[in-house]
């Protein structure tokens, strides 16, 4: 990477270890402003750990450099909210937001419909939208999504990705997303990085439909659905 003007993130020799196990080893990549990078790989490949390191939530070796004044937003894969009596309004207030109606409408939700609902009682799609609302509340430059459509039906999934594209254009956001969905990676990201402890592939996302590449990324080919 030449300058941080063009690039928003530079990762050098990133290694993450937990006792007796190396999760990520010598990961090197850089990310251009305004692009979307999809992170793929089999389960346990270290994708979520990469996000945690990028957000400075866990200790790591190596260097993670964000461009100056970068603000990150994060949408986690799971919430443990099913057993907690907390309303959507109270959850969003944790972030200290003032314009909750605006936040909800920006993610396609009617505030009078969901604001007083219990967070754990939302549908999968509504919960994802609320989380995206939470993450975009303070106008971040970078968004990190861990499986943005976990627990969401197919129609809502498409709608959520279209909404992400709108948000990205509106706020000129750079995105990193973890996904297992090959079509989503092809249609909604510019580049893809395959992880399996180390980087196994880094290139344009349209190549994800290449069966040879899939075999390399996931260890085994992803079979076609046959009649």
């Amino acid at each position: 990477m030449e300058t941080l003007d063009e690039y928003i993130l530079k990762v050098t020799d990133l290694t993450v270890e937990i006792p007796n196990q190396v999760i990520l080893e010598n990961v090197n990549f850089q990310l251009k402003k305004g692009t979307t990078l999809a992170i793929v790989g089999p389960n346990g490949a270290g994708k979520t750990m990469l996000f945690r390191a990028l957000l400075n939530l866990i200790p790591y070796k190596g260097k993670i450099e964000w461009a100056p004044k970068v603000k990150t937003g994060y949408v986690p894969q799971y919430l443990s909210a099913s057993d907690i009596p907390i309303s959507v309004e109270e959850f969003l207030m944790f972030k200290g937001g003032s314009n909750l109606d605006g936040t909800l409408s920006s993610v396609g939700l009617e505030s009078k419909e969901v604001l007083n609902k219990r967070l754990g009682a939302l549908s999968g799609g509504q919960l994802r939208r609320v989380l995206i609302g939470w993450a975009t509340m303070d106008k971040p430059n970078v968004l990190l999504f861990d499986e943005p459509t976990t627990g969401v039906d197919l129609d809502s999934e498409e709608a959520i990705y279209k909404m992400l594209v709108d948000l990205k254009l509106k706020y000129q956001i750079t995105m990193l997303l973890i996904s297992h969905d090959l079509h989503i990676i092809r249609d909604y990201s510019d580049y893809m990085m395959a992880l399996n402890r180390c980087i196994t592939f880094l290139g344009e996302s349209k190549r994800i439909m290449d069966l040879e590449l899939q075999r390399m990324i996931y260890g085994e080919p992803v079979c076609m659905v046959q009649e």
Binding site: R52, L55, L57, T72, Y74, P76, Y78, L79, S80, A81, D83, I84, P85, I86, S87, E89, E90, F91, F94, K95, N116, K117, R118, L119, A121, W134
Partner: protein, 266 residues
């Protein structure tokens, strides 16, 4: 109303209110039995106080504080749940307490307390601790809940989840210590669990849940004490402790029926 009764009501209300409030977090954190177990941890401290002739309450406090820090640190290192570690520490403490206190009557007092026999200094300490515990917990309440919903979101908001949990554990041990002295071990275990469980049945928001839990705690304590005073003229009058438990559990059963009837979406 006699002065003694007014006194008991005031203490019962304060301890019930604070235990109900802190209990609302403990029930969510799956720490429901931690209050009960922690109350046994105080036992060796009480024993030391009795043996060395200083206020047993101070000994109890010291043991609870030290144990809370040890439990928190073991939890951080091993990632075992609070309940598992507290389970180990509390049985050890109980054993140590029994080895140190050989006089069974003194032991029974330490374990079961009696709200009707509280000195005014203990009562004042109880009320003060209730105020401090509620006020401090209120400040960290949202942070603890966000940590429960998603540790990553909490940390990314600049919340030091481990530190906030330690502070909460210390506040719990404060309420437990004063609770043992005033109401006894059994009642402390009850007051941090049942009011919160009842409140959870009727709540879809955090503010309503924590408020109802505190009010249910205070209401069961005061109602139990009042029932005991009405029954004080019968032969072999029942002590307030069990009546507080019966009142609270009745309240809980009512909330179960209300929820079942209304199919409240909570």
């Amino acid at each position: 109303m006699t002065e003694e009764l007014a006194f008991s009501l005031l203490i019962g209300f304060s301890v019930g209110l604070s235990a109900g409030y802190l209990g609302s977090i403990m029930v969510l954190e799956k720490m429901a039995l931690v209050g009960d177990a922690l109350s046994h941890v105080a036992l060796p401290g009480f024993a030391l106080g009795i043996l060395l002739n200083f206020d047993p309450l101070l000994g109890g406090f010291a043991f609870l504080f030290a144990s809370s820090i040890i439990i928190w640190q073991i939890g951080r290192v091993t990632k075992l749940s609070f309940e598992t570690i507290v389970g180990a520490v509390f049985t050890l403490s109980l054993a140590a307490g029994i080895l140190m206190i050989r006089d069974l009557e003194v032991l029974a007092d330490a374990l079961f307390g009696d709200i009707a026999k509280v000195a005014w200094t203990d009562a004042a300490a109880g009320i003060l601790i209730a105020i401090v515990a509620i006020y401090s917990t209120r400040i960290i309440y949202n942070k603890i809940v966000l940590g429960m919903i998603s540790e990553e979101l909490a940390i990314s908001q600049g919340i030091n989840v481990a530190r906030v949990n330690l502070l909460f554990l210390l506040l719990v041990s404060l309420v437990v210590a004063i609770g043992i002295k005033i109401t006894g071990t059994l009642l402390v275990g009850f007051l941090v669990v049942v009011p919160a469980a009842a409140a959870k049945n009727l709540s879809a928001s955090l503010s309503r849940y924590s408020l109802l839990s505190s009010l249910f705690g205070a209401a069961s304590a005061t109602a139990g004490i009042l029932f005991a005073s009405f029954l004080s003229y019968v032969p072999l009058p029942p002590p307030p402790g069990p009546l507080i438990v019966v009142t609270g559990v009745t309240l809980f059963l009512v909330t179960v029926i209300v929820r079942w009837k209304k199919r409240i979406s909570v």
